[in-house]
């Protein structure tokens, strides 16, 4: 069953720049894949379409069987709760503690206070941040901040996790650990889409890779093809 499907999607911005052109692909439930390409290839636009920060000019983006073109107004936030997001710059709330940052998706979902506390502690412990619950983001290292961002993205067990250059600021050892964590997510049924231009890392992960160039999907390489 597919979680995400792009059907001949094009995106043209005002001014005429075509960021995506006739892109089609499908992401299965529990699948992990990479999207790579040079700067300006359309990776960010692809993420914006998934997140409903933008809408396609042509074609359809179907998420969990729902055509996102039909998701409007007050339904947009509900869609976003189904998509966990990890960013290169973490995007943590500076005035809130680690625990408060991680709790946000659960608060938005309307979980009980006691359940939220328990769930947050569990996820932070799993990511090795159990002792940093009350710290502010500014008191953490870059690696710790990235792990808090991941904890926030997975705490509500979204259907799809998208990560935009999640290892960009991390040393190779930490980057490998983060990738290993992402690779474990599909076992729980969460699909993972990682945008990265770190080709050595992508090759080591031996997952499916989509290659974008000037807004077009140039190649869709399966793990078997990648191994060859």
């Amino acid at each position: 069953m597919s979680v995400l499907r792009f059907e001949n999607v094009s995106k043209q911005y005002p001014g005429g720049h075509e960021a995506l052109a006739d892109v089609s692909f499908e992401v299965e439930q529990g699948e992990m894949l990479f999207v790579t390409g040079h700067s300006g290839a359309g990776k960010s636009t692809l993420l914006k379409l998934i997140h409903l920060s933008e809408r396609p000019s042509r074609g359809a983006v179907v998420f969990a069987g729902r055509n996102l073109l039909k998701v409007r107004g007050g339904k947009v936030p509900l869609h976003r709760r189904d998509v966990g997001a990890v960013y290169q710059d973490h995007r943590l709330l500076a005035e809130r503690s680690v625990a408060e940052n991680v709790a946000l998706p659960l608060i938005l979902r309307g979980d009980r206070r006691a359940d939220i506390g328990k769930r947050v502690r569990e996820v932070l412990a799993r990511l090795g941040l159990g002792h940093r619950e009350q710290a502010l983001p500014s008191q953490l290292s870059a690696g710790e901040q990235q792990r808090v961002g991941i904890a926030r993205a997975i705490v509500s067990e979204p259907k799809l996790l998208v990560a935009d250059e999640p290892t960009g600021n991390l040393d190779p050892t930490l980057a490998a650990e983060i990738m290993s964590l992402f690779a474990s997510m599909p076992e729980r049924g969460t699909s993972v889409l990682v945008v990265s231009h770190d080709l050595p890392l992508i090759k080591r992960m031996k997952k499916r890779v989509l290659i974008l160039d000037h807004g077009r999907l140039m190649d869709d390489i399966s793990p078997a093809d990648l191994a060859e």
Partner: protein, 317 residues
Amino acid sequence: MSAQPPTNTVAAAPRTGVGIWLDQHLYSVVASLGRALRRPWATLLTIGVMAVALALPLGLALALGNLQHFAGSVEQSREIDLFLKPDIEVARAQVIAAELRSRADVAAVVVRTPEEGLAEFRARSGLGDALGALEENPLPSLLIVTPREDAPTLVDALQRLPETGLVQHDEAWRARLQGWLGFGQRLAWVLAVLFGLGALLVVGNTVRLDIQSRREEIGVLQLLGATDGFIRRPFIYLGAWYGLAAGLLALGLLLGSAHALREPLQALASSYGSSFMLGGLDAARGAGFLFASTVVGWLGAWLVTGHFLRQTRPTET
């Protein structure tokens, strides 16, 4: 860091919409109060400006209320003062009074002799020694006539009496006073609207600055799936807190002003033989004012956050 697969052992129990709504409102109330308290000077400045803007029209309305109360007692005294000519004897004055009492449009007539008038004047004016130097009493007899209703014909009749020296009836003066009071009340309403609008803009601007400083945070919340209501709520509560605090401060300012004015005003009133007391706001009107000031704060924040959220909606193509 462990790379173990996530094991979610906590299954969130289904919750009712009301439970979620209450929880999220409580979260917003606490968050907004905390935010206001973390910036005490900025908060005090906003509340102070709002309080002055709210206190001015309310103070004017209260002053007019007191004047209205005072004017009401003037309105009650509808007596017509009929001063007889100085050469009219007291006995003749009594006869005229009896004749007037027999008229259908007269409720009562009181005769005040020149001696009684002089004694009253001496007591009130404090000019006892000077009055003692007079060789004879210059005051005429006075008939205080109380009409049954408004009686312009009665005034005409009194003026036509051959013994009449002067008829004093303050109807025109009272009409002018009522005109001024009506104008003052309308002015108070106009000022209330203008200053209320000013208070609303003060809150709106403060919340707008707050939104600008938290733009990044709001963007993150939107990406995480926060609804417009979730984002708007802390700002609206912040505006309501500002409004409530400004209302309380405005009431405090007015109470302080009333306290400062009460004693000299009572001394002034008693020198005129009046027991006039400065009136204030009763509990119901005070609560109504606090409610109104809270609504002003709430509305200012609601308008600004609504404008901001409309600008941050995803592009609809």
